[in-house]
């Protein structure tokens, strides 16, 4: 399918109460004003358990810059790779990926390369929404490559996952602020996870030029340029929650208030973050 540049009709959003509420509490609706021209594209992946025990993919649709490919799976698990078909997201783009593992299905989604947020022609923000659902007894592994926030870009990333009581979710999110030696762009990233309709985790990080002051300081990122999180939701953690511990100078493992564990790592570069998350993933899935 080819990318279609569409004019988005202005959508009214409530006026922010102050500069802070605008920056700290971004609305996920596109901003009002002159109609931005950007790409709107949605990729859809649905994994379903087949009678044979295998997982099939009744829906596997890419669009525009979001191409999806089925890759070789294993042990009843279907695997899909997101393939960067063009440079995106650029300012003004609105990309959405929806991935669902239906009851008893097992799905693993990876990507073939890092995603680079780039500025658009008119400085408009871009939006990248990821919506994940995990059914009864299903497992979804969402393991994309890093998101790199390039100079001048302005990206809002929203990741939402809805997991049933006995579903398994493994979710990795890594952000690198600026390419090598580059000033980062503006990046706002919200992650909301529900288990059986209850909010397990709701957090948002805002960084880069124009973010609320202090983002680069000793309480938030301390001048470090790479951040990663690994969330593991497993029913086993209800009975046996993980013990909190340190995984490096700026990395920790903590149980959440539910059947889940979260690793948070901050480091000088993306490689150092990945090393921590890889080691943690291995021990958490044991």
């Amino acid at each position: 399918m080819t990318a279609e540049a569409v004019a988005v009709a202005p959508v009214g959003v409530p006026a922010p109460a102050s500069a802070l509420s605008e920056s700290a509490l971004p609305e996920s609706a596109p901003p009002a004003g002159p109609a931005p021209t950007g790409i709107r594209a949605t990729a859809r992946i649905t994994a379903r358990r087949h009678g044979s025990g295998a997982t099939v993919l009744p829906v596997l649709e890419g669009e525009g810059p979001l191409a999806v490919r089925r890759i070789r799976g294993a042990d009843g698990e279907a695997r899909v790779a997101l393939v960067g078909a063009m440079s995106a997201p650029l300012g003004g783009d609105r990309l959405t990926v929806r991935a669902a593992a239906e009851d008893e299905a097992r799905l693993r989604v990876t990507s073939t390369a890092a995603t680079i947020a780039l500025p658009g022609q008119r400085g408009e923000p871009a939006y990248y929404d990821v919506e994940l659902t995990v059914g009864q007894g299903a497992a979804l592994h969402w393991l994309p490559e890093q998101l790199i926030s390039a100079r001048g870009s302005d990206l809002h990333v929203t990741t939402r996952a809805d997991v049933t009581e006995d579903g398994v979710l493994v979710l990795r999110e890594e952000q690198v602020l600026g390419r090598s030696g580059e000033t980062p762009g503006r990046l706002t990233s919200r992650m909301t996870i529900w288990i059986a309709g209850r909010t397990l985790l709701d957090q948002e990080l805002s960084c880069g030029p124009g973010a609320p002051a202090g983002w680069d300081g000793p309480a938030v990122l301390g001048g470090l340029r790479a951040l990663g999180q690994l969330l593991v939701v497993r029913p086993e953690f209800t009975e046996a929650p993980v013990q909190p511990c340190m995984l490096g100078e700026h990395a920790s493992l903590t149980p959440l208030a539910g059947p889940a564990a979260l690793v948070t790592a901050v480091a000088r570069d993306g490689l150092a973050v990945r090393r921590v998350l890889d080691t943690a993933l291995e021990s958490l899935m044991r």
């Binding site: 922010p16 802070l20 909010t199 202090g214």
Partner: protein
């Protein structure tokens, strides 16, 4: 409402146990991220716009009369660090004890019964403000001020920082505190219509990681 009640509640000498917590400053001092007044200010600014904003939103929503148990769950979801959830509930339990003696109210007793091991401190703070006849903005001001006064006071002890300089840091943060309160109160108003998902959820990775590092120390001056 009595304006003086706000001073009673916001007073650092209010017996709610806050003086035993550094708000992450003890770990940041040891790790070399806070070394003087300038780095203390940067630390406090980051804490204000993250943990301070989240606490103020929860406190304002509780003062509005939103269900404290829903808000307590929202506080859990906004506090990934287990060490910070434990500290928040401990502080909440101590504040609730002081509040029930100071401004007795059925809502405070009900929360104590529902959460015997303690509800999150900002939720208790909002409910306490309500019991004291104060409003959502007052509750948000208390939360925001605590979010920076704790680390500033702790740093005076940890670094032998000049107390005048620490107080000057707080004074310089005053406009940012006003801004944070306005954002928190606006979000709490939205939450009344849209539910707790509308409340602020700003995170500070180094505060969360640092809290876990601090919890594991064998000897420490502050509880968190």
């Amino acid at each position: 409402m009595s304006r003086a009640a706000l001073l009673v509640l916001a007073d650092g000498r209010f017996p709610a146990g806050g003086h035993a917590h550094s708000g992450g400053a003890e770990e940041a001092v040891k790790a070399g991220r806070i070394t003087d007044a300038a780095t203390l200010e940067a630390f406090c600014r980051g804490r204000l716009y993250t943990a301070g904003l989240v606490a103020a939103g929860l406190a304002a929503a509780a003062a509005h009369g939103m269900d404290p148990l829903d808000l307590d769950a929202a506080a859990d979801a906004r506090t990934p660090s287990a060490a910070l959830r434990t500290a928040g509930r401990k502080l909440g339990r101590q504040l609730l004890r002081a509040a029930r003696a100071t401004w007795p109210a059925p809502e405070l007793s009900a929360l104590a019964a529902a959460r015997p091991r303690g509800a999150h401190q900002p939720v208790v703070l909002g409910l306490t403000a309500r019991a004291a006849g104060l409003g959502p903005e007052d509750a948000a001001y208390c939360a925001v001020y605590e979010s920076v006064s704790g680390p500033a006071t702790a740093t005076v002890r940890l670094l032998s920082l000049d107390p005048f300089q620490a107080t000057a840091v707080l004074a310089r943060l005053a406009p940012a505190m006003d801004e944070t309160v306005a954002a928190a109160v606006a979000a709490a108003r939205r939450a009344l219509a849209e539910g707790v998902d509308a409340l602020p959820r700003a995170s500070a990775p180094l505060l969360e990681i640092g809290a876990e590092a601090h919890r594991a120390w064998p000897v420490r001056l502050f509880a968190s």
